[in-house]
C-alpha cells in the first residue's frame, strides 16, 4: 500500500507594530511581567477595543504580497472561551469574513517548484502567557503578550511532505520579514506554526482524519514532528486502528508527538461579530498606497538577479533570502562596477562567514558594502591577489580602515614587476638546487615547492600568475626538464 501525506500549515505571525492591536500598550519583548498591559488588556470593566491601523496595514501588505484578495469589508468576531491568560474570556479574531482571502506562495524542493495555495489570513489578538513552573502548584499569568497583534495565515492542505512543509514555512518566514510586517524571531515566539497532518492511500481523493501538531517553533522540529506523525498514523492504520482527530504536541527530546493533556472534545467558541468594533472597511486609496510602497518581492528580485547580473539560480536564491542581504549585495555591485559574480562570491563567502561567526546582523556589518566593493576592485585591477585580499578583509573587519589604507600601511601591493620577480626567482633557484634537480628529474610537485618558496620570499605579494610563468620560463632556460 502506498501512502500520501497531506499537510496544511497554520502560522501565527506577530505583527511588528509598536503597540497592541486593540490598545496602546507596548509590544516589546522581554519586559517585566504585567508591565505592558493596559486597562484594555486587563479587561477591566467598561473598557473597549480600538483597532490599530498599523496592524491592518501590515495585513494588507501581506495580502498584496501573496496575490490574495483584500476584503474591502471584514468583520472582527469574538471567540469565546475561559482561560486565565485570556482576560476578556474571549479573543477578538476574525471568523466568517477575514481581511485577506486566498493567495499563493511558491516553494522550491528537490522535486522542483510548486505553488501552494493559501486559504486566508486574518487579524487577531494574542493571549497572555501562562507560566506553570516556578510557582509551587500555582500558575503565573503574564499579560504583557495579551493583545499583541497576530496575523493567522492558513494554507490549503496542499503540502505533500515534511520537506514541502518546511520549504513553505521558510518561504513564508522569509516573506513576512522581507515585507517588514514581522521580525520572524522564532525563539521569542514571533512566528509560530501548527501543522495539520493526515495520510491517505495514494490515489484517494478523500482526506484522512487529521491531527494538529501545535507550536512548532523551529524548522528542524517541524520536519521531525511531521515525519514522526506520518509514521505514527500509517502504522496505526496498518495495525487496524483509526486516527483520532486531536491536538498533539511535539517532544523534541523523545522525537515523538503526544496528545495534549488538557484537550477535551472540540470546543464551541460561539463566534459572533464583535459589537464593539464596526466592520473593518478598507478603501481603494489605502490599498493602492500600500501597493505603491511595496518593496520588490523576493521572487521578482531573484529573477532580476539572474537576468541582470547573470547569476546562477542558486546564488540568486541565496542572495534574495534576506532583504538586507540582497540590498547589501546590490550596493556592492553598484559601487564596484565590475563582474557581479565576484561580488556574489564575496558576499556569500567571506562576508557571510564572518557575520555568522560573530553572530552579527548584516545591518551592523563592520565592513560596509562600499568598502567591500573597494576590496573587490583591488583584486580585479591586480593590486592584490585573492589570497592577500582575505587578510585585507580580516583587517577591514577589525576596523583598520578601508582596503587601500590597509594595503598601503601594510605594503601589501602585489609585486607585478617582471624584473623584480625574475630576480627573486633567480635567488630561489640558486638557493634550492636540490629541488630544482628533483624537478628536472620529473617530480612535478617540486615545481609547487619552488612557487611556494618564491611566494614566501615575497611575503605572498608576488603576482602568482607571473611567478608561475617566470619560474617555468627560467627552468626551461636551464636545460632539459618536463617542460
Amino acid at each position: 500500500m502506498k501512502w500520501e501525506t497531506v499537510i496544511g500549515l497554520e502560522t501565527h505571525a506577530q505583527l511588528s507594530t509598536v503597540s497592541k492591536i486593540f490598545s496602546g500598550a507596548a509590544t516589546a519583548f522581554g519586559a517585566a511581567p504585567n508591565t505592558q498591559a493596559s486597562a484594555i488588556d486587563l479587561a477591566l470593566p467598561g473598557v473597549l477595543p480600538v483597532p490599530n491601523r498599523g496592524a491592518v496595514e501590515r495585513a494588507i501588505r501581506f495580502g498584496l504580497a501573496v496575490g490574495a484578495k483584500i476584503n474591502r469589508t471584514s468583520v472582527f468576531a469574538r471567540k469565546n472561551y475561559f482561560y486565565p491568560d485570556l482576560p476578556k474570556g474571549y479573543q477578538i479574531s476574525q471568523f466568517e469574513i477575514p481581511v485577506v482571502q486566498g493567495g499563493t506562495l511558491t516553494i522550491v524542493t528537490d522535486q522542483g517548484e510548486r505553488t501552494v495555495r493559501l486559504t486566508r489570513a486574518h487579524l487577531e489578538e494574542d493571549a497572555g502567557k501562562s507560566l506553570h513552573e516556578d510557582y509551587h502548584g500555582m500558575t503565573g499569568i503574564d499579560l504583557n503578550r495579551a493583545g499583541t497583534p497576530l496575523l493567522e495565515i492558513v494554507s490549503e492542505p496542499d503540502l505533500r511532505s515534511s520537506d514541502e512543509a518546511v520549504a513553505y514555512a521558510k518561504v513564508l518566514h522569509s516573506l513576512v520579514r522581507w515585507i517588514g510586517i514581522c521580525d520572524g524571531n522564532m525563539q521569542e515566539g514571533s512566528f509560530r506554526c501548527d501543522a495539520n497532518v493526515s495520510v491517505r492511500p495514494l490515489g484517494s481523493d478523500k482526506l484522512g482524519t487529521r491531527c494538529e501538531i501545535k507550536n512548532l517553533n523551529s524548522f528542524r522540529f517541524m520536519q521531525q514532528a511531521i515525519e514522526f506523525e506520518v509514521r505514527r498514523q500509517i502504522e496505526l492504520i496498518q495495525d487496524g486502528g483509526t486516527v483520532v482527530q486531536e491536538t498533539r504536541l511535539y517532544d523534541p527530546e523523545r522525537n515523538e508527538t503526544r496528545p495534549m493533556r488538557s484537550k477535551e472534545d472540540a470546543q464551541d467558541y460561539r463566534y459572533f461579530p464583535d459589537p464593539d468594533l464596526p466592520p473593518l472597511v478598507i478603501g481603494e486609496a489605502w490599498i493602492e498606497r500600500v501597493r505603491a510602497e511595496m518593496p520588490e518581492l523576493p521572487a521578482a528580485m531573484k529573477a532580476r538577479f539572474g537576468a541582470t547580473y547573470g547569476l546562477p539560480a542558486a546564488d540568486a536564491a541565496a542572495l534574495t533570502g534576506h532583504r538586507e542581504l540582497a540590498s547589501y549585495f546590490e550596493e556592492t555591485v553598484r559601487t564596484f562596477g565590475g563582474d557581479p559574480k565576484s561580488a556574489a562570491n564575496w558576499v556569500q563567502g567571506e562576508l557571510s562567514a564572518a557575520l555568522n561567526k560573530a553572530d552579527v546582523d548584516i545591518a551592523r556589518s563592520p565592513v560596509s558594502a562600499p568598502r567591500l566593493a573597494g576590496l573587490i576592485r583591488r583584486i580585479a585591477d591586480g593590486t592584490i591577489s585573492g589570497k592577500i585580499a582575505k587578510d585585507v578583509f580580516d583587517a577591514m573587519w577589525a576596523g583598520e580602515g578601508d582596503a587601500d589604507a590597509i594595503i598601503g600601511s601594510r605594503g601589501l601591493t602585489q609585486i607585478s614587476d617582471e624584473g623584480a620577480i625574475g630576480k627573486i626567482v633567480d635567488d630561489v633557484l640558486a638557493a634550492n638546487a636540490g629541488i630544482v634537480a628533483e624537478f628536472r628529474a620529473g617530480k612535478e610537485k617540486a615545481f609547487n615547492s619552488l612557487v611556494g618558496q618564491t611566494m614566501k620570499a615575497t611575503k605572498g605579494k608576488a603576482n602568482p600568475a607571473q611567478v608561475n610563468a617566470i619560474l617555468r620560463q627560467k627552468l626551461a632556460e636551464m636545460g632539459s626538464g618536463p617542460f
Binding site: A43, P45, G46, L48, F82, P84, P87, Y90, R270, D276
Partner: protein
C-alpha cells in the same frame, strides 16, 4: 430651593442666591434623612462632594457661568468613577474601586457638576425594577411599597425625591425611560453612539447608551450637552459636530407668545401601542396628553409598525447573547469576587461566578450562551439580528409620515416590590414599548403625563428619528410649559 430644577438652580447659583456648598450640604442632609427609606444610593461620598462644591464655587467666582457648574448630581453605579466604589449592583464588584472615569463622567465633571454618590440599579443593568440589586431593592418615592422601575431605579428615585437635581442612567432596553415613567420624572436616551460607552460597564454592547434623568426635558438636554461627544477610545462613538441640545428650546423662547408652538408637528401613533393590554389609567392619561399636543398645534397620524411586536423576543435573544460574552471577564482572576475556597481552575471559575452573580444575571448568561451555541446560532442570534433590521425598517418608513412617535412608556404603572419577580417573562414585558429604540439605535425619552388611580406616575414616551434629540427635547419642553405633571413631587418631599 433644594428641589429646584437644574435650569433654576443655575440661575440661583449665577445670582449668588445660593452657593454650591450650601446646595450640596442641604441635599446631603436630605439624603441622610430620606435615602434609608428609598435605598436609592449604594455609595455616598460627602467629603468628595463638598470638595467639588467648593471648587465649583471658586470656578463661578472666577467668571465661569456654565449652567452645570456647582449642580449636584449622581451617577448610576454602572459607570466607572475614579476612586469611588463602582459595583454595578452586584456582589461581583461589591468592593471594586474604579481606577478611571467613564467618558460621560469626565464630561459632567469638566462641566462643573458635583458628584454626590452612586445610585442603586438592577445587577449589571439587567432588570426592570431594581429588585435584582445585591444591595436590596430601591423604592419608589411615590409609594415605597412599589418599585421605582429599572434598571436605573436608584437614579430615578433620587431625582424623583429631589435628592439630586439630575442623575445619569443607562438604557439598554428601557432602563432610563421606564424608571422615569414609574417615578414621575423625565428621562432621555440619546441616539446610539452619541455618548461614549468607555467606562460604561457593558451589558449589551450594541444596545447600551448612557443618558440623563432630571425634572425637565430642558435639564436633560443640559446634561446631555456635557455627556455627548466623540471619544476615540470607543470605536462605536460617532464623530459628529458638537451640538447644543437646548438650541430649539432657546429659539422657542424668542417667540414666547406663539399659541400653537407645535404647529406643523406630525405625531405618529402606532396602532400597536394602543391595541389593548395597557392599564386603562395609562390609556386615559395618554389620550389626555395627545389632546394637549393637539392644542399646542400638532397633528396626529396613525402609523403601523408591523414588526414591533417582535421587539421583545428579538431583544431577549440579542441582549443576553452579548451579555453572556461581556460578563466573561468576571472570572475572579484579576479583580472582583473570587471564591474563598476552591479546588482547581474550573472550580475557581464556577464558584466565583456562582457566588458573584445573582439569579437574573445567571439566567441571561445561560440564555445568551444558548442562542450563540453551535446549532442554534442561525435560528436564534442570526435570525434576531435579521428581524432587528425589519423593525428598524418599519420605523424608517414611519418617519416618512411623521416627525415623532408617541405612546405609553410602559403598559402599567409601578408595581409592588415582589409582584413580578416570580415570572421573568412577566417582568420582561415591562419593556414592550421601550426596547425598539435600543434595537434601532434611535433616541427616545419619557416625560410624566399623569397619575393612576393610586397616585402613581404615568409616562409618555416620545421617540425621534436618528439625531433628533434637540427636536424631541423641544416637543417635550413645550408640553412641560403647558402642563405641570413634571412639577409634582412625591408626598413627603418638600419643595
Amino acid at each position: 430651593m433644594l428641589s429646584a430644577s437644574i435650569a433654576e438652580l443655575a440661575r440661583l447659583l449665577a445670582g449668588r442666591s445660593v452657593s454650591s456648598v450650601e446646595l450640596t450640604t442641604g441635599l446631603l442632609d436630605r439624603i441622610a434623612r430620606i435615602n434609608p427609606a428609598l435605598n436609592a444610593f449604594v455609595t455616598l461620598d460627602a467629603e468628595r462632594a463638598l470638595a467639588a462644591a467648593r471648587a465649583a464655587d471658586a470656578r463661578r467666582a472666577s467668571g465661569d457661568a456654565g449652567p452645570l457648574v456647582g449642580i449636584p448630581i449622581a451617577h448610576k453605579d454602572v459607570l466607572m468613577t475614579a476612586g469611588l466604589r463602582t459595583t454595578c449592583g452586584s456582589r461581583m464588584l461589591a468592593d471594586f474601586i474604579a481606577p478611571y472615569d467613564a467618558h460621560v463622567v469626565t464630561g459632567l465633571k469638566q462641566a462643573g457638576t458635583v458628584l454626590v454618590g452612586k445610585t442603586n440599579m438592577d445587577e449589571f443593568a439587567m432588570g426592570s425594577s431594581t429588585e435584582t440589586s445585591h444591595f436590596g431593592p430601591a423604592r419608589n418615592p411615590w409609594d415605597v411599597r412599589c418599585v421605582p422601575g429599572g434598571s436605573s431605579g436608584g437614579s430615578a428615585a433620587a431625582v424623583a425625591a429631589r435628592l439630586v437635581a439630575g442623575a445619569t442612567g443607562t438604557d439598554t432596553g428601557g432602563s432610563i425611560r421606564q424608571p422615569a415613567s414609574f417615578s414621575g420624572i423625565t428621562g432621555l436616551k440619546p441616539t446610539y453612539g452619541i455618548c461614549s460607552r468607555y467606562g460604561l460597564v457593558a451589558f449589551a454592547s450594541s444596545l447600551d447608551q448612557a443618558g440623563a434623568f432630571a425634572q425637565t426635558a430642558e435639564d436633560c438636554a443640559l446634561l446631555l450637552n456635557a455627556m455627548a461627544g466623540h471619544d476615540p477610545r470607543d470605536a462605536t462613538s460617532l464623530e459628529r459636530p458638537r451640538e447644543d441640545y437646548t438650541r430649539l428650546i432657546a429659539a422657542g423662547r424668542a417667540a414666547p407668545d406663539a399659541t400653537q408652538p407645535l404647529a406643523g408637528l406630525r405625531i405618529g401613533l402606532p396602532r400597536e401601542y394602543f391595541g389593548g393590554g395597557n392599564d386603562p389609567d395609562v390609556d386615559a392619561a395618554l389620550a389626555g396628553a395627545i389632546d394637549e399636543f393637539r392644542t399646542l398645534g400638532a397633528a396626529t397620524v396613525d402609523i403601523a409598525l408591523p414588526n414591533v411586536n417582535l421587539a421583545i423576543p428579538v431583544y431577549y435573544v440579542i441582549a443576553p447573547a452579548e451579555a453572556s460574552s461581556n460578563l466573561s471577564r468576571f472570572d475572579g482572576v484579576r479583580y472582583g469576587h473570587r471564591a474563598a475556597k476552591y479546588g482547581d481552575l474550573a472550580d475557581m471559575y464556577k464558584k466565583s461566578r456562582a457566588e458573584g452573580f445573582g439569579a437574573e444575571v445567571k439566567r441571561r448568561i445561560l440564555i445568551g450562551t444558548y442562542v450563540l451555541s453551535h446549532g442554534y446560532y442561525d435560528a436564534y442570534y442570526l435570525k434576531a439580528q435579521q428581524v432587528r433590521r425589519l423593525i428598524a425598517d418599519d420605523f424608517r418608513r414611519a418617519y416618512e409620515r411623521c416627525d415623532v412617535i408617541m405612546g405609553p412608556t410602559a403598559p402599567s404603572t409601578a408595581f409592588r416590590i415582589g409582584a413580578k419577580t416570580g415570572d421573568p417573562v412577566q417582568m420582561y414585558l415591562n419593556d414592550i414599548y421601550t426596547v425598539a429604540a435600543n434595537l434601532t439605535g434611535a433616541p427616545a425619552m419619557s416625560i410624566p403625563c399623569g397619575f393612576d388611580r393610586n397616585g402613581l406616575p404615568i409616562g409618555l414616551q416620545i421617540q425621534g428619528n436618528y439625531f433628533a434629540e434637540a427636536a424631541m427635547v423641544n416637543v417635550a419642553h413645550r408640553f412641560q410649559q403647558a402642563t405641570d405633571w413634571h412639577r409634582r413631587v412625591p408626598p413627603g418631599v418638600t419643595t
